[in-house]
Structure formats: structure tokens, C-alpha cells
């Protein structure tokens, strides 16, 4: 049996019908095999996928892993051009961006208003539902397109910056208040140093 293991027989008789047989390696990291190159691939059942039959395959709409970033000068030129656009030259993306900004701002303001009415500090129960916000954005985009109105890019930027900063600022102020209250409480709980002054304690008081 040991002799058989070391034998390398490439005869046609041995190849036919045997398929691939791996033999014991002579050296570590070395494998020997007799492979029948005439062997036909085994027929396996083909799987047919009927998922989303009416949708264009995902590969088409998938962005490539890394789209090259535009060069700085090109980006600057494009932004300046966009700034100078008249209302008729605005694209759908411009209107969508404007609608996004306005509806986000409205959402923030209404949340704040309802929170103030409810005298509540939590955010969640008073926010508009997400699908409704999306619907509002779509509808408002159409309104903007109808009236051909859009804000300049700088206005959008400062507006978004303001809206983005308000919530963290409010939370920071609330936290600041809490910390200050806690510090004041801690101060009242501790005995003030003047009361444990031995001189003051001894005056007119009987010794313990």
C-alpha cells in the first residue's frame, strides 16, 4: 500500500473514470493529483430567481465604489455658475434641496411649539411622522417648481447651520441648568465652614 501511495501513474487507463484523486504528499506543502481533463462538468439544477421581476437590476442603479471627487477649481466654478442661475435655469435637485430645508425647518418649529404647549422636554412624541415629512417634501418641491422659487445657496447654508445648531444648543443649556442646580444643592447639603469654626462654637455654648 505504501508503494502505491508514492506511485505517479499518468497512463490513459488510470485517468479514465477515476476523476481527481489526491495522493499522499512526498514533501510538506506539496500535493499531487491526477485530474481527468476530459471529465464533463456535472449537471446541477439551475436556480431561477423570480424576485422583483419588474424592477431594473440593482447593479444598474448602484453607484460605483468611488466616484472621483471634482477638482477644487471645477467645483468653485460650478458653484459660482449655480449662484448666477436665474429661476428658469434651476434644476430639480435645486428645488428638492430647498424643499428639504423648508420642511425640516417647519418640522423643527412645530416640534418646539408642541413641546412648549405640552410643557415637556422630550422630542419624540411631538415630531411629525417620517413618511408624512417625505410626502410634504415631495409636494413642496412641486409647489416650488410651479412658482419657480428657490433660495440662494448661502441662505440655505446659514439656515441649515442655524437649524442644525439649535437642538444641541438647547440641550447644552438644559444640561448647564441641571449641573448648576446640582452644584447649588450640594453646597446647601454640606455644612458651611463658618459653623464648624471652634471659636464660634465655644462662645456662650456649654461644652459637650
Amino acid at each position: 500500500m505504501a508503494e502505491e501511495g508514492n506511485k505517479t501513474d499518468n497512463s490513459v487507463d488510470n485517468l479514465a473514470g477515476k476523476g481527481a484523486t489526491t495522493q499522499k504528499p512526498k514533501e510538506p506543502n506539496v500535493l499531487e493529483a491526477v485530474v481527468d481533463i476530459n471529465e464533463k462538468p456535472k449537471e446541477q439544477p439551475t436556480k431561477f430567481n423570480f424576485l422583483n421581476p419588474n424592477v431594473v437590476p440593482e447593479v444598474i442603479s448602484k453607484p460605483t465604489t468611488s466616484d472621483p471627487k471634482p477638482e477644487l477649481k471645477e467645483l468653485q466654478r460650478k458653484l459660482i455658475e449655480d449662484e448666477g442661475k436665474s429661476a428658469s435655469q434651476l434644476t430639480l435637485a435645486d428645488f428638492e434641496e430647498n424643499a428639504d430645508f423648508v420642511i425640516d425647518l417647519v418640522d423643527f418649529l412645530t416640534t418646539a411649539l408642541f413641546r412648549w404647549i405640552a410643557l415637556d422636554n422630550t422630542d419624540a412624541p411631538y415630531e411629525m411622522p417620517k413618511p408624512k415629512i417625505e410626502k410634504l417634501k415631495r409636494q413642496f418641491t412641486k409647489v416650488l417648481i410651479r412658482y419657480n422659487k428657490a433660495m440662494p445657496i448661502l441662505g440655505l447654508f446659514f439656515g441649515t447651520l442655524g437649524a442644525a445648531c439649535i437642538t444641541p444648543a438647547r440641550k447644552a443649556i438644559e444640561h448647564n441648568k441641571l449641573v448648576k442646580e446640582e452644584r447649588a444643592k450640594r453646597k446647601t447639603d454640606e455644612k458651611p465652614p463658618s459653623e464648624i469654626n471652634p471659636l464660634k462654637r465655644g462662645r456662650g455654648q456649654p461644652r459637650k
Binding site: E43, P45, F48, F50, P53, V56, I60, D67
Partner: protein, 232 residues
Amino acid sequence: MDNRLNFVWIFIGKNTTGKTPTAIQYAKEWQNAKPKHKLIVFDSQNKFYEAHKKNKIKISEIIPIGNSKQWAEQLADYTETKIGEKKYKYANSLVILDDYRMLCKNNDMPASFYSLLALRPKTNMDFILICHMPRNILEGLAGFITHYSIFANNAIQSQFEKKINCYVQCQTATLIINKYVELYGPGYYDKTRDMPRFPYIIVDKESEFLDCKHMDMEKAKPILKEFDKKAK
């Protein structure tokens, strides 16, 4: 270099099976996902231009029909700002060649077309090529193809074997789609939804599944059963 997912998609099918409307639909979805990228077409039937006029797609460049020699060289055109830094004129684009053999009339693959395909990771180009038969696929092209869309066709089974490395799946897809179209018709263009509804099967080299598009599963079941019985 980053790994990119550029595809070379080939549509195979006889006339009036809906290859061009489906390609237009693909182009539309592709442009929605990548609005700033370019769409370059070889429009042998003028259907892409009609879609462009109807604002379905936005064509950046049309390869003229007479230009059968230099088109690939022109698409690979670049300017060199610094040594080794090439800026490709048509980078980030989808190239659709409808009836592409009109551009490659010889059986030898033009060297410029070969290098255009080889440069895909650099130029970030996707390709959709449309032809009628597997025998229309040039030998040099077969190695680049990532996906096949098999529409009803008149190809002889051996044609696939000689041209394509995943021929077993393509042959299977052809048998199934031909039978499906024979029984249930070639499909139609849904004007109310502005969508092509032509049945076809996608063969992805990397996937074990054949993706059936615009085909009803219940209708396809008896066909698959019949082929399964015959095979056994």
C-alpha cells in the same frame, strides 16, 4: 486603486424582443443614480434620441453611424496635465452601443475597443452592448462581459459554447425564454407606466441564479417542470 463595479452588459435577442426599450430603461435608472455622469450612445435605430427628446434620458454624446474606425479612440481621449496624470474626456460614463457590430464589422476586435474596455477601472465606464446572436460577440470581448440579458433569440446552442465561458447558463436561459415567449407572447411596452415589459433572463457571471425579468413565476413553472422531466 479602488475596486470599482463597472459592468459590461450584453443584450442578446432577435428583432422586436424589446432589447432597445429595456436598454433605455437601464440608462434612465443609471442616470437617476448618477445624475452628473455622461451617457454616450451609438444609436443605430434612433430610439435613444427619441427618448432623449421626450426627456426620458439625457444623452451627452452620440457616436455617428459612419464612424466605424475611430470611435473607440475618441472615447479614450485624454489630456495629460502632469506626467502620468491623465484626465479622460469621457470618464464617468455609460456607453450604450445598439447593434454594436455596425461599429466592429470585422471579426477581429479593434485594438482601440480592447484598450477602452481594459481602461474601465480608470475611466469609470459602464458598457451596454446590444446584438442579435451569440456569434456576434467578438472573441476579445467575451472575457470582459459581466452580465448577459438573454431575450428570445434564434441562436443555435453550440454558438454559446464557442463564444461564452458561462455558456451552460446562457443556453438554459435561451431554452426557457424561447419557450416562454412562444407560449405567452413577446411582451409589450406599458405606456401608462412608461415601462418596457418584455421578458428576459439575466445571467450574472458571479451569481448562481438566473434572474427572470418580466416573467410570471406561475406561468414559468410548467416550462421548467417540462425541461426538468426531459433532463431526467
